[in-house]
Amino acid sequence: MGDIVLSVAASHAPGLAGLYSGAPEDTKAEVDKMYGTMGAEIVAADLDVLILVGNDHLANSRVLEYPDFLVGMAAEHMGPYEWFKPWLNCRDYTLQGRPEVAEALISGMARRGVLFVGRRENLRYDDNLSIPTVLCDFDANDVPVVPILMNCNVPPVPDQRQCYAVGEALGDVIRNDLPNGMRVGLFGSGGLSHEPGGKRYFFIDQDFDHWFMDMLEAGDHHKLLNEATPERMEESGAGGTAELFAWFVVLGAIGNRPCSRLGYTAYDNFKCGVGAVRWEMGS
């Protein structure tokens, strides 16, 4: 009987670290507000584990052997991975892992028919874990983390419905398989609109980003599952926007909860719409 006591989701554009200093003041203020709020709430929630779900970005497996979900089982998670350092330009960090929670997730999901691949070694982390870590200060605050890195852009990509269903199973594992009273947080990492490596690399689809967060605030999951399709995501940024499927895993795990946005900014040099939301988990 674990309890999901906190749920948030936010963008992880690498520029939030590497290009922050050159950003306009109002952009910086919006970034500080969003990630500062999340960081403070995560610390206040006194979590036993924060489960972070985000795009693997082809960092840990070959294209030909790319799993849908990869769980970091290490006792410590260290990042960023060397090659990503210049591009991220953020501090090095070491986070506490929760191997026993990672194991429970892998086993619990298997019993529920969902394959979560696991690796005991430290994974290669880029912006997916590094940006939330350094902007929300997970390292300084000893927030224990289990990362779940997922496939958002290697065909066949699990779509919004599949990710929501995976989230439902994950919520069931948390509530039924984790130790009684364990305080669990969920962090959906990725999005909003962007097209990394594409023709429209600097494109940010602000209309889409607002539409998507409006839908979350409206709480109509049925409509969201019908309309936030891979095709719709691809229109708003091929291969990047679909990172929002990580948010669907969180949605599936928590079901329909009041949601509010913590902020949004669209600064071209970030090459990504940057926003964050928080769901109310009750007491």
């Binding site: 030909l64 090659w83 330009n89 065909p155 091929a238 291969g239």
Partner: protein, 107 residues
Amino acid sequence: MAFEQIDKTLVTHDLVQDLKWDAELRAQFEADQVSVLDRYPLKPEERTAIDTGDFRKLYDMGLHPYLGGQLARLMYGNAAGPDATRAVNRLIASLTGEERPDDRTTA
């Protein structure tokens, strides 16, 4: 670029991932690109496209754009700021066929 066009079996994917994962190979690539490329069973037009920085051709052959972006950084600069911006602009210029200054940051 439709993500359906990705050819998962393209050998360039392995090249880019090896370069990310192996600092020694990366140093060799920076010193002598040809000798590293010679080790990979690339199709002739795939090899030519890498040699000439023709990303459009690579994408038409099925290169994953995420790895395309990383290949551009491996070739033109990986550090946040002007370095990576130049890499992004050269990639976009190749994909669109448009001239593009190295420091441009808007669509």
